[in-house]
């Protein structure tokens, strides 16, 4: 009998502090390794409307496609492999599948196909895989990861045939699928799209202005200036429109802004939702750096990027799962002197971020 009610599942928070000018900074790889981004939210203090160049970035986020009821073996289609996967930079993730109960699929830009399958589906599929790292006592979830660019997975090869027949005749896996590609990669998806019911979606941009916002006095100098958890809590509270104006004796909530604090007269919060590409996020970061180079009242900008909760992979193609929240996100705080603070957070079913 376990009586310990105080234990909670593990969570990880990695705090990085560096400068964009430091050659050892890994920000671009950290951004690019999180392949499936669901939401980007930006908080600009002392700003009432987004400057035009930032606005342009928001509106030029790549659109993505939703394919309804697509059989997964279509991803192995010879033509699709040639025109899209081998070209690289194709992002695909199954939609409306929950990783803790359904089978989830992700197509990574490096040509890896990752399937997170429950036990029965895995036994039906008949392709080598590994039991999930996060199984508890009994193995009930397996991860199959194949490199589509590998020579054994070339069309006609044995591994290819096995996976194809497995997906086509044994495990007829069909899901709604979100697909996107980076235009620079030269991939074309039209051929695949034409065969199924599909729709194109623009990332959904919403922005609103906040007034008289109390915010912590952020200094770029030291990491200890503000406890990372209370800082993330405050950013989250602003993002969720939760009021921080509470007293400690309040019955409902005692959430307050971390000390020391200041008040900004207005702030702009912009968020973008959809299947967003890391390249676009990277572009946005570059634009924010330009934006910060002009002198301003408040000298920092906060950017938060959420990964897909139900994606089978998080950073670097590492396995991901949902235990309670399935969170995999990072929050970037950029200061005017090109230094930044990066907080990478993962939940219980995740490995340590890079």
């Amino acid at each position: 009998m376990s009586v310990d009610l105080d234990q909670t599942p593990r969570s990880l928070l990695v705090c990085d502090r560096s400068s964009f000018l430091n050659e050892k900074n890994r920000i671009s790889s950290q951004v690019e390794q999180l392949h499936f981004n669901y939401k980007v939210s930006l908080l600009l203090p002392e700003c009432s409307s987004a400057p035009s160049h930032l606005d342009a970035v928001f509106n030029s986020f790549n659109s993505f496609y939703l394919i309804r009821n697509m059989p997964i073996y279509e991803l192995l289609d010879k033509h699709f492999l040639k025109t899209a996967v081998y070209q690289g930079s194709v992002y695909g993730v199954s939609y409306r599948t929950r990783i803790d109960e359904d089978n989830c699929v992700a197509l990574m830009p490096n040509g890896h196909l990752s399937l997170s399958l429950d036990k029965d589906s895995f036994e039906l599929l008949g392709v080598e895989g590994k039991p999930s790292r996060f199984n508890h006592r009994t193995t009930c979830r397996y991860v199959v990861c194949v490199d589509l660019t590998d020579s054994s997975m070339a069309p006609g090869g044995r591994g290819y045939q096995r996976l194809l027949t497995g997906l086509r005749s044994r495990l007829q896996l069909k899901t709604d699928f979100l697909l996107s590609h980076h235009p620079g990669g030269g991939a074309s998806l039209q051929d695949l799209l034409s065969r199924y019911d599909w729709s194109e979606h623009r990332p959904d941009v919403s922005s609103h202005t906040l007034t008289d916002l109390s915010c912590p006095a952020l200094q770029s100098c030291d990491l200890q200036s503000c406890d990372p958890h209370s800082l993330l809590e405050w950013i989250g509270a602003v993002d969720a429109h939760i009021s921080c104006e509470n007293s400690s004796s309040s019955f409902l909530s005692s959430l307050v802004c971390p000390e020391p604090k200041t008040t900004v007269s207005r702030a702009l919060s912009v968020s973008v939702c959809g299947l967003l590409l890391p390249q676009d996020v990277h572009r946005l970061i570059q634009q924010i750096r330009y934006y910060l180079e002009q002198p301003r009242l408040e000298s920092w900008v906060s950017l938060t990027v959420h990964g897909f909760v139900d994606s089978p992979v998080s950073w670097r193609g590492n396995e991901h799962g949902v235990l309670r929240g399935g969170e995999n996100f990072y929050s970037l705080l950029i200061f005017h002197d090109q230094t930044y603070q990066l907080h990478l957070a993962t939940g219980a079913h995740d490995t340590c971020p890079p």
């Binding site: 895995f122 039906l124 008949g126 497995g166 044994r170």
Partner: protein, 223 residues
Amino acid sequence: MDEALVQVAIPRDLVDFLRVEPQTNSKAQAFTKAFLRNSTQQQSQLKVQSMLSHKAVILGYSRPKKDKSRRNSKKAKGLNARQKRAMKIFQIKPEHQRYELFLPLHELWRQYITDLCSGLKSTSSPQFIQQKLLKADFHGAIITVVRSKCPSYVGITGILVQEFKHVFKIITKEDKLKVIPKRNSVFAVEINGFVSHIYGSKFEQRASERSAKKFKVRGTIDL
């Protein structure tokens, strides 16, 4: 009557003739007793003596000869497992491992199943067919591995040529002989459109023993 005759007094005429005098009753009794004791004692002693000196006594126990002969005949009939293995009786020679060679066996098996299930019409109930199939012999059936804990077994199809307690040996269309463990796999058997699934883990018996076994009904079965 004889006893009475012995004890009767000697008649008068004989007394004179034999010149013996009848003794009194008590004396006669004492004499007879003594006489009998002497004579019998000597006799029994003699007998024991002769028995010990001449008679052969068997101390050990030997089986009847009939038993021994039966064991011999049984031994002559079959081979033990080691001999069978050494002679490779149950191994199919590589030159015989051809799919076409076993197609007639499959045809025979189809007939057998059709007979067993009394015609195998589409109207017959699945429960009935399943009951029959449980007790049936599967040599010659085309079986497919549909699910397995080991992914590389999944998808193998072929004619079942040998069934052992724990494995199936099947021959595939590519003329390959495959040995597949029954445990942790599910097999599909197809006859005239009926597809039945066999849970290998519950099927771990020899074909001959299975016909006598009772299968239990269970709600759910994992591999």
